[in-house]
Amino acid sequence: MPQRDDLRAAFFEECEDLLAQMGDGLALMSDAADTPELETLHSVFRAVHSIKGGAGAFGLNGLVDFAHAFETVLDLMRSGRLSIGSTGMPTLLRAYDVLSDLVAAARDGVTEPSSMAAILVELDILADGGGADEEDIEFVPVPLDLSLPFASPVEPEPAPLGYMIAFAPSAALYLAGHEPAALLRALVRLGSARVIPDTDEVSPLAAFDPGSTALRWQLELSTCASRDEVDAILDTVSHLADVMIAPLVTHAAGMEEEASTQSRPSLPDQVPSEPGPIASLAMSNSDPVPVMEARVKGMDAAPASPIRGQPEATPVQMPVASTIRVNLDRVDRLINQIGELVIMEAMLSQAITNAQIEDGGDIANGLEGIKNLAASIQESVMSIRAQPLKPVFQRMQRITREAADATGKSVRLQTIGEGNEVDKTVIERLVDPLTHMIRNSVDHGIETAERRRSVGKPAEGLITLSAAHRSGRVIIDITDDGAGIDRARVRQIAEERGLVAPGAHLAPSDIDNLLFMPGFSSKEEVSALSGRGVGLDVVRREIQALGGRVTIQSVPGQGTTFTIALPLTLAVLEGMLIDVGGETMVLPLSSIVETMRPASVQVQYLGRAARMVASRGALIPIIDLAESFGFDPVGPLEQAILIIVEYDADRCVALAVNQIHDQRQVVIKSLEDNYGDVPGISAATILGDGRIALIIDPEEIVQSAAAESLALPHVANG
């Protein structure tokens, strides 16, 4: 059946979501291991359970067995028969890692991870602590028991108790800053409820007095919570509102007796918050806003309610997560087309200018409108590709755990700002460098527990991974509270490897930056963990390939912070249009520090060819951009413009160009598909007049200039 393959693919997609849901839940549980929220436990349990169910359907037996063992522990926990405390948490987290691996292994058809057996044993030990029944997994279709009649219930279970609550806030309640909606939500969280706003007293708009309170609510709360719990919520406002609470007798006729005489069933998986048999308006505790049934009379406008009411006639819809899955190709096609639109708009603008049509006329205004529209469409489309950093950050939790295990250290990863959104491609390509940096922080940053204790730090090391948006870029910090960079040692290594001249004058930040030098790390120096033949130089290259920058800051004894600054998108770029030997080219604005027209006194000559410019107390090497692209040299520097660009943390060169034209947003068009990697050029763009302009990669320019032995000192501006 071909459909089955699609379903299989859908199952693995679902697994991704479920694993993410589990990751969230487990993170919450880690923070409060002794008293995990029941709803969190339920959600983690359901995720494992769904994975097991699907895996069974596709005959993935290894996954089923493991999920079953995992689920058993979670089930014991949620039914209150097992409390694992903080000691069991690492097992659950490792089990989560293994489950992720098993899903991936099943999807890719590779062998199951070897760590599975050990974790299975750990899970069994945990489960035994809760007295798990040795119940075999029963995975054969069970024949149906048809001895039951089809008619309505034989012994319907008693409805959970509930309350009818009338709530009429006074003006003083609002003046005291209370929010009725918040109170109603708190009540609803006790179970499920029908909230009915009473607008009978609300005057028609003409006679409306904003200072008086007329809106009241009735709440049919179906809950197992005690009267005390209900009172506790309303106590805070009881003197500010008329509150009446009456027990809700029943939900369905004919059940009164049972409801009052039978005690609540005490089955193992019965939980206090389990919603009862509520009709179609039932709502759950996770809904952000109560669903309302409003009786609005006499006017169409919504009552002066903090929550918008709905007319009775329209069916009440439950809020459903409104997302769709879209093939990425379609989004990219749209982004390309928007790029074309921006180019067309620029060309049109150029044509209008050429036709000498005056500003302020209909045509110019129309064009302005199109421009604004194109810009906002572009922004919207970009936001489709934007995704939260969360999945990447979540993966780092695991990297931290594994790195901590491998080094025998105790390390916790704290994540901040993971909701910040970045282009999908940036996110994907961020995984490797981040992984490396986290491993690096655990391995080299965080000290051993004994050492930490001896200097008065908590035994558990802390790495903070935080993200924030700042001036059109996303800034990611990786901060550890470790020993900081041992600069004497770094210097010694760098000197041994010939990266710096012995005894060279180096500022502390220069020494820190040596870590990013190619060839700094070597096999004997790095440990088993981060020694995978990858140094921080590779991290820096990867970040730079994304148009980003990475810097380092370290305080001895207090820790080290790596800061990554990334563009939000790889599709457009703020650029400066420059003239290089008669060609129009684009320089990324993000790398430009300043532009200057040098006075002759500022230019100094070193030897035959090398020229430097003095700027702000530093000598900056000059590169003739035209010459480096094989055009005629720019000529006398007095007629050229120098653009000082930062090509590396705190390192600058001055690019000599013929002229600066303009500054604008350009749409990036990759050259690599057609031309391969062109040195010194990162991509191309199409200008308003239809010409193609190449986008310069300043770092590659510097590298090729250095390769031509243009004598670039290592530390130019010390």
């Binding site: 379903l7 089955l267 179609s280």
Partner: protein, 122 residues
């Protein structure tokens, strides 16, 4: 006439599997992604049979069974529980709530269909 079946399961994979098994057999399948949603769709779908999962967010399978049995419409529709759970006490509880039968996942397609036909009296 096509028999209508309302499938309530929070796992899209499972709903897909049941649909893939039953649609070719000539049933009209309606889907709901959790208990609350299932009860919401009950009247509109007006099914001849309901198949529900047990572990679901918002409202679980027991809630669904109770909701249907005590609801205003379709109160006597046959309800099959389709779940990975196989515990005797759970089955017992489902039976007392008013479930018609219990099938353990993963299901055998032919068996599922024959069971359904049996329940529907086809």
């Amino acid at each position: 006439m096509k028999f209508r079946i309302l499938v309530i399961d929070d796992s899209p994979t499972m709903r897909g599997l049941v649909t893939a098994a039953l649609e070719p057999a000539g049933f009209e399948i309606h889907q709901a992604q959790d208990g609350v949603n299932g009860l919401d769709r009950l009247a509109a779908a007006d099914p001849h049979l309901v198949i529900t999962d047990i572990n679901m967010p918002r409202l679980d399978g027991f809630g669904v069974i109770q909701g249907i049995r005590t609801g205003a419409t379709n109160a006597s529709v046959p309800i099959l529980v389709l779940t990975t759970e196989a515990g005797g006490d759970l089955k017992d509880r489902a039976r007392r709530s008013g479930a018609t039968g219990w099938i353990v996942k993963p299901f055998d397609e032919a068996r599922l269909i024959s069971t359904i036909n049996l329940v529907l009296g086809v």
